[in-house]
């Protein structure tokens, strides 16, 4: 294609994802630019966007990578830039103090690829994240970008492309896991036109940010996937629906579409093939339910994003009642790789029913918070303890929540569960879009159920009664339990409402809304009973059922708790024992967090 250029000797990649930007990476980037502009060195500086938590090391940001040496520096500050330029770029030496310390071994590592975190991963959808400058289409092309599109347009008929997708076994990464190739075939089989191709970038699950990361860090992989999909189903117009809160994703996607048009990967007669396709962005309005397919289409049409009953598939009558293919960001990002490397290669990865890899955002009470991509079938234990590095602060693992607000909580006894679509559903949870939230002993499972139910009650569009009223009733009961006003019949009532919701709701939001309550009741019923019967929250989360007190025998009188107490509820003199005034205490738990001697204990609301 003639766009390939010879690589310069060394490249500095400064992470400019949301996470690193928050830690000041743009200043570091500018400093590199400034120092290297005048320096007589064969070095090219560029900004590479890496998403928050990417490689689990965003809390270690700003992150700077030096290629081709593959040196990985963390927490780089502006004054460090001069040293990196002098030592590493000019001298070829590693600046030890800026290297990453692997929590698993306690050793400094030169490249992030040497860590346990990285070694257990397999990157397909995230293949370019952090390796390329998302604002530069040449970077994408250099790593094999748009090669699959060229192959599809020049060597394959549309039906070949669809057949290849079906053979690959790729299933939708947005939640439901519908086979992507079959969806395309249904749409192509319709004799109605025009047909539309959509990308769902309305990532709304709390604790999930894989789609944002791909839109920010590798926008062209989505565009390429969509053009291939459009060619397969015979569409000339596509839309990417992006969540309103994702400003950097909006910016990077818009720039990428512009560049793709300039280079002839979008527009009339793409790559001289005669096939034309155009793509525009629609900004979401900030409504969780718009991630649901029919609601998303209503929103693109400029209406309120309410779902409709789906007696007829969107592949027949979707956007403006025309045949429509809607796939999620991660699904689209997989498409070019499958076409490029073939369905046999792809389907050799994963389990019987779930092929390929899945991106998870591993967050919560885990050492390495971040975005990971693993082959389907890997165990939860491997994800949380090998890749995630286990639970911080020596706390005990309690549960992992998967599948977003409609997912469920999986307990420690099931850590050896192999992660794929079937096994997660079997455990009462679901794959969802890939949020994975680790919870430790300090997390109250009743409060978690209350949190998700509250989320869903707020986001319910209100169109159908079971979802609108059922969730509100459930929330009321859970609020009462957390406030110490629970009754012993509450558990049965909750289960009864759950059943009604599952059976009678209109869309997926309501049908799956019982999952958080049902799974916590299934695996953590004892905690519910403690709240209701003993008026006690063992995790110390529910304020009405919690009282903090300082264990006199353990207190060393350092006064750290009093210094950190936002309510001024702790009194005492340095060297003496400190005490908490229960009337002033706002139960934020800050004292327990900061105490180095474990002297702050939790008692039940009534007991102490």
């Amino acid at each position: 294609m003639g766009i390939f250029r010879s690589r310069p000797k060394r490249t500095v990649l400064v992470c400019c994802g949301t996470g690193c930007l928050a830690n000041g990476s743009h200043g570091v980037y500018r400093e590199f630019e400034r120092m290297l502009k005048n320096a007589d060195q064969p070095v090219r500086v560029k900004a590479a966007a890496k998403a928050t938590g990417c490689n689990g090391l965003c809390e270690m940001g700003p992150i700077v990578k030096i290629l081709p040496d593959d040196i990985f520096y963390c927490r780089v500050k502006v004054p460090d830039v001069e040293e990196i330029v002098r030592e590493t770029l000019a001298g070829g030496r590693v600046v030890e103090r800026l290297l990453y310390t692997d929590p698993a071994t306690g050793k400094k590592v030169k490249s992030h690829k040497d860590t346990a975190f990285y070694k257990n991963q397999l990157k397909i959808a995230l293949r370019n994240i952090g390796e390329i400058d998302p604002a530069n289409i040449d970077d994408y092309i250099q790593r094999g970008g748009y090669r699959a599109l060229e192959k599809a347009l020049s060597k394959m008929k549309p039906e070949d492309v669809t057949a290849e997708m079906e053979k690959s076994g790729l299933r939708g990464r947005g939640g439901a896991g519908f086979p992507t190739g079959r969806k395309w075939r249904h749409c192509a089989a319709s004799d109605d036109t025009p047909r539309y191709v959509l990308c769902n970038g309305d990532e709304g699950d709390p604790g999930a940010f894989m789609d944002r990361s791909i839109m920010e860090g590798d926008p062209h992989s989505i565009i390429e996937g969509m053009v291939i999909g459009a060619y397969a189903v015979g569409s000339r117009q596509g839309f990417i629906y992006i969540r309103d809160e994702y400003s950097l994703a909006l910016k990077n996607m818009s720039a990428a579409i512009r560049q793709a048009k300039e280079q002839g990967f979008l527009g009339e007669s793409i790559m001289g093939s005669g096939f034309g396709f155009d793509l525009s962005i629609v900004r979401g309005g900030g409504a969780f339910v718009c991630g649901e397919s029919s609601a998303l289409m209503a929103s693109i049409e400029g209406r309120v994003g309410e779902p409709r009953a789906k007696y007829i598939h969107a592949t027949e009558r979707g956007l403006w009642d025309k045949p429509t293919v809607l796939n999620n960001v991660e699904t689209w990002a997989n498409v070019p790789v499958i076409i490029d490397r073939g369905s046999d290669w792809f389907s050799s990865i994963g389990t019987g029913g779930s092929k390929g890899t899945k991106v998870f955002s591993l967050v919560g009470k885990v050492q390495n918070t971040g975005l990971i991509e693993v082959p389907m079938g890997i165990s939860l234990r491997k994800i949380i303890f090998d890749i995630g590095g286990g639970i911080p602060g020596g706390k005990a693992f309690k549960a992992v929540q998967t599948g977003g607000p409609s997912g469920g909580c999986i307990p420690g006894s099931m850590l050896d569960l192999k992660v794929d679509f079937e096994s997660l559903s079997g455990a009462g949870s679901m794959m969802g879009s890939g949020g994975m939230i680790v919870m430790d002993e300090d997390t109250c499972m009743v409060e978690v159920a209350r949190y998700y139910t509250g989320f869903l009650a707020e986001e319910s569009c209100g169109k159908c009664l079971p979802c609108r009223e059922g969730l509100r009733r459930m929330l009321g009961i859970l609020n009462d339990i957390c406030a110490g006003r629970g009754h012993k019949e509450d558990v049965d009532t909750l289960l009864e409402i759950c059943e009604a919701l599952r059976e009678a709701s209109l869309c997926g939001l309501g049908k799956t809304a019982p999952n958080p309550v049902e799974t916590t009741l299934r695996y953590f019923r004892e905690e519910y009973l403690e709240h209701i019967r003993d008026k006690r929250c063992r995790a110390g989360v529910c304020p009405a059922l919690t009282q903090y007190y300082i264990e006199g025998s353990l207190c060393r009188g350092c006064g750290l708790c009093a210094k950190n107490c936002p309510a001024g509820a702790i009194t005492g003199k340095p060297g003496d024992k400190y005490t908490i005034d229960p009337d002033l205490c706002i139960k934020c738990g800050r004292c327990r967090q900061v105490c180095k001697f474990g002297a702050v204990s939790i008692g039940g609301g009534a007991a102490v």
Binding site: G207, A208, E245, G286, A287, R303, G364, T369, P566, R590
Partner: protein, 164 residues
């Protein structure tokens, strides 16, 4: 007492409308642009949109109340968004919110009487590595502890909040 703004100049609304084809599918985008310009959707602006696109005002109202990005009330100079996504939630975002409520004397969705601060919660900013996180006018504050709030508000000219 609510924070109330003066009557708005409508020239920017006409400019926004001119930038889009006269089709209903651009309604959400138009309303978002107006929201961005004014910080809310002024009643007079909605009247203009209604006439331009020939849609009933009730429909604009239903859009404005359905989508979180749209607001019928003016917002403060600084909009504080506290993330209450799951990762932030289990890392005590509630404590953060409680402290903000206590200092500012407002609930989420409200604006201080002087028009300086609006308080909101958001369901996940996708910045879970920074949990608990809050955003004030697009600036991210990572791993915020409740005892840091007073200092942050002070930097934004909010000295004295909560001291009364």
């Amino acid at each position: 007492m609510d924070f109330v703004k003066q009557r708005e100049d409508l020239a920017p609304v006409r400019e926004i409308l001119d930038g889009y084809p006269r089709e209903q599918r651009f309604l959400l985008a138009i309303l978002q642009d107006i929201q961005k310009t004014y910080g809310y959707l002024p009643r007079e602006a909605l009247e203009t949109v209604r006439l331009h696109l020939d849609v009933p005002l009730s429909r604009l109202y239903s859009m404005a109340t359905f989508y979180k990005a749209l607001s019928l009330k003016p917002k403060g100079e600084y909009v504080i968004k506290v993330c209450d996504g799951t990762a932030c939630h289990i890392k005590n975002s509630q404590g953060l919110l409680d402290e903000l409520k206590r200092l500012l004397g407002i609930e989420p969705g409200e604006t201080t009487v002087d028009g300086r601060f609006s308080l909101e919660t958001v369901n996940c900013l996708g910045s879970c590595a920074l949990a608990p996180v809050m955003v004030i006018n697009d600036v991210y504050y990572a791993k915020v502890e409740p005892d840091k709030i007073r200092e942050i508000l002070g930097m934004l000219g909010g000295k004295g909040y909560g001291d009364i």
